[in-house]
């Protein structure tokens, strides 16, 4: 994983909106109408240090999601293909570094209840005027919340599909 990821390199104070916008564009890219936990996970993988903790790249995770879909199609007896290009979305590199309220609302997609909960819980203690808990705080909290999820939650399915062991990651995350 090289430094200079679009999000990290350009974000000084990490904000939940940054994660939301990146997750939303991942959802749009896949053709989903809601931002789910799997999209939050993809958004976090755009961060080199967190991608390093999981030892997974965002491209690998996107491919794993497509593979899971194909398996599911086969299980219901469909021989579908996914060789269509992803839907148009804003590339991660072009997302605003400090999202304004307007940027969050423009082209917004609703979140699934679990995704909303994970993102809301992660932002505790980051209100303006209080001590900033450190730039990686929010992203780490979101990842910690996602690691707690169990099947059939989409993020848990994705982690299982990638062969990632949540317990091991939790330990590594504590050292970042």
């Amino acid at each position: 994983m090289t430094a200079g990821s679009p999000l990290t390199a350009r974000t000084s104070a990490y904000h939940p909106w940054t994660t939301y916008i990146a997750a939303r564009e991942e959802a749009r890219r896949r053709g989903d109408r809601k931002v789910g936990t799997e999209h939050l996970l993809l958004a976090l993988l755009a961060e080199p240090d967190l991608s390093g903790v999981l030892d997974v790249t965002i491209e690998e995770a996107r491919a794993a999601l497509d593979a899971l879909d194909l398996q599911a199609f086969a299980a219901i007896g469909l021989d579908a293909r996914l060789d269509l290009p992803p839907l148009p979305s804003t590339p991660l590199a072009e997302l605003p570094r400090k999202p304004t309220f307007r940027a969050v609302l423009k082209g917004r997609l609703p979140m699934t209840p679990t995704a909303k909960k994970a993102l809301e819980a992660s932002a505790k203690g980051t209100r303006r005027g209080r001590a900033q808990p450190g730039p990686r705080y929010v992203a780490k909290n979101v990842l910690a919340a996602l690691l707690e999820l169990e099947r059939p939650d989409p993020a848990a399915e994705l982690l299982a599909g990638l062969g990632v062991e949540p317990a091991a990651i939790r330990e590594r995350l504590a050292r970042v």
Binding site: G31, D32, L84
Partner: protein
């Protein structure tokens, strides 16, 4: 499906797993979005108007244009 092989066994298990079935449901919606996007782009290349595309999809031309207008 040969159930003696691990792959066959996994597939047999997956057929009775609602979690896999629900993923297929959402996956089909995703697939439909990708097909729609591709076909709208194709129709525009072939000179279709937004009105014609909207008629074919059963929606207004405005809503097709809002959704896919960035394509072309």
């Amino acid at each position: 499906m040969d159930e003696a092989t691990p792959g066959g066994l996994r597939a047999a298990l997956a057929e009775n797993d609602p979690a896999v079935g629900f993923r297929a449901v959402l996956g089909l919606r995703r697939l439909a979005e990708r097909v729609e996007s591709r076909q709208v782009a194709l129709a525009r290349e072939q000179g279709w108007s937004w009105q014609q595309i909207g008629d074919a999809l059963g929606v207004t031309r405005q809503s097709v244009h809002t959704k896919h207008g960035k394509l072309s």
